[in-house]
């Protein structure tokens, strides 16, 4: 018996947003009488944290702490249109829509503050803590709480805004394929280290070192969540997952979590994640979509590492112990 070790690398890029564009998202933002802000959307939170990220984007743009923003989403009677949560588009598309809506609301807020402070709105700035200050004279200020009260009860203004983000649809040219699939791309490079048992074909992923470039980590802890989970899913795709394990025989597909295989908590690779940020030109605060691409580079990196370990290429996913063992046996006479 021999446990053989190998390592492999892969580098990838990934488009943000629906292929070829044409996928709108809209947002509404308004203040309550006491200066809290509501973001209304119809975007869906699948668990990636859409609500929290939209709150932070709105808060940054308005100039309040994010806990003063409430995100109300996914009720079609109230929320404006969103194409949906897919294609790594949520943060990018909805985030841009929220920024536009929040900017419009912020402008009204500053106009009301300007009237209260008897200055020009263009001379005002926010401190991010819930106050509006005169640039260069911060002792002259008003709280957003008071501005909202004034807008509602004294000045008859609606501190609100509408946001819309649409990348115009690109139609591929028939013969050349000239097209614009996406406006920005995330990047990754992964190095995986594996051990392969050459008598059983079993693979243990020892380490994965993932470098992800995601434009901007809007909330680093939430980015980390997605990247760790994605890296796990990539390894799972590489080595375990299939609904038809013996295709072209279509029988024997797993129907439960015992028989549809995914790595368990005792199968985890030691996972290192490093994030680079090259802000995208059109992303909200430079963000790109990290949610999908983070599960891609592990697959070829593991495949290449298996080859490095035992010298057989498994070019069909998943790279099961059976496929490795068959390849090793086919290679054996040489």
């Amino acid at each position: 018996m021999a446990i053989r070790r190998g390592r492999g690398v892969a580098a990838i890029n990934y488009p943000t947003g629906m292929n070829l564009g044409g996928d709108p998202t809209q947002a509404l933002v308004h203040s309550t009488p006491t200066g809290n802000f509501m973001v209304t959307l119809s975007s869906v939170d699948l668990g990636q944290g859409m609500k929290q990220i939209m709150a932070q984007i709105c808060a940054e743009t308005i100039g309040v702490p994010s806990d003063r923003v409430v995100v109300d989403t996914a009720d079609t009677d109230t929320g404006p249109h969103c194409m949906g949560t897919f294609a790594s588009r949520g943060t990018h598309r909805a985030g841009n829509a929220v920024i536009q809506a929040a900017r419009e609301a912020r402008q009204v807020m500053l106009e009301v503050a300007a009237e209260e402070l008897e200055v020009n709105a263009s001379d005002l700035e926010t401190d991010g803590q819930g106050n509006i200050l005169v640039k260069g004279a911060p002792q002259k200020s008003i709280s957003i709480f008071d501005v909202a009260l004034s807008a509602h009860f004294k000045r008859g203004r609606s501190i609100s805004g509408r946001g819309m983000f649409l990348i115009p649809r690109s139609y591929p040219e028939k013969e050349t394929g000239a097209m614009k699939p996406s406006t920005c791309y995330a990047h990754a490079c992964t190095v995986a280290e594996v051990e392969v048992d050459d008598e059983t074909g079993e693979v243990t992923v020892l380490t994965v070192k993932n470098i992800f470039e995601i434009g901007r980590a809007l909330n680093p802890k939430m980015v980390e969540q997605q990247l760790i989970g994605g890296s796990w899913m990539g390894i799972s795709h590489a080595l375990y997952e299939t609904t038809e394990p013996y295709y072209p025989n279509r029988d024997h597909g797993g129907t439960d979590f015992n028989q549809y295989l995914m790595p368990g908590p005792g199968d985890l690779a030691q996972t290192e994640i490093i994030v680079l940020e090259r802000p995208s030109a059109d992303g909200p605060y430079g963000a790109k979509g990290p949610g999908e691409m983070c599960a891609n580079p592990q697959i070829p990196a593991v495949a290449n590492a298996v080859f490095d370990a035992v010298g057989v290429r498994i070019d069909t996913l998943p790279i099961t112990p059976e496929r490795i063992l068959r390849a090793l046996k086919a290679q054996a006479p040489n």
Partner: protein, 160 residues
């Protein structure tokens, strides 16, 4: 259809209901009693999202018939926080960013609670073993393992 009485305590409160014989505890809790913290992810016993604690033991409520729980003390995740103060495990899951979609979370917390009740200072391997019947598709498990280890440490610090 034959209705049968069931009576047990749920998170310390007495509950009594008439249910259809053969109803799973999961359905009784969710549909009759209104505690939706246990989730039905598979109804096969393969995902752990429905985990509850019955008389101190971790059980799958989807495979347990409610009428076999007469007289039992049942704990669910919705009953863990007291007076609005989160249980140390709940706090640790928050702080470790150990929830994404949240669907597995309450089952994970149940499994972790039984572990810490019996093994206040578990090793990583013991945590892994304790969570092994619970599926998470979002997190890759590591943040959950870290949350349980952190909760154990904070427990032992409080006890010291």
């Amino acid at each position: 259809m034959a209705k049968v009485p069931v009576q047990f305590t749920l998170n310390g409160a007495e509950k009594a209901e008439f249910i259809d014989s053969g109803t799973t505890l999961l359905n009784a809790l969710r549909d009759k009693i209104g505690d939706t913290s246990p989730k039905g992810g598979c109804h096969q016993g393969t995902c752990g999202a429905c985990s509850v604690i019955i008389d101190g033991e971790l059980r799958l409520s989807c495979l347990t018939l409610a009428e076999t729980c007469n007289g039992a003390a049942i704990t669910t995740t919705s009953g863990l926080s007291e007076g609005g103060v989160l249980h140390p495990l709940q706090r640790a899951f928050l702080d470790a960013f150990a929830t994404q979609c949240g669907f597995c979370t309450s089952g994970m917390i149940m499994a972790a609670k039984v572990l810490l009740d019996h093994t206040p200072n578990p090793s990583r391997d013991e945590v892994v073993e304790a969570l092994s019947g619970n599926i998470c598709r979002c997190t890759g498990y590591e943040p959950i393992i870290q949350a349980v280890l952190t909760a154990a440490r904070s427990n032992s610090q409080n006890a010291a």
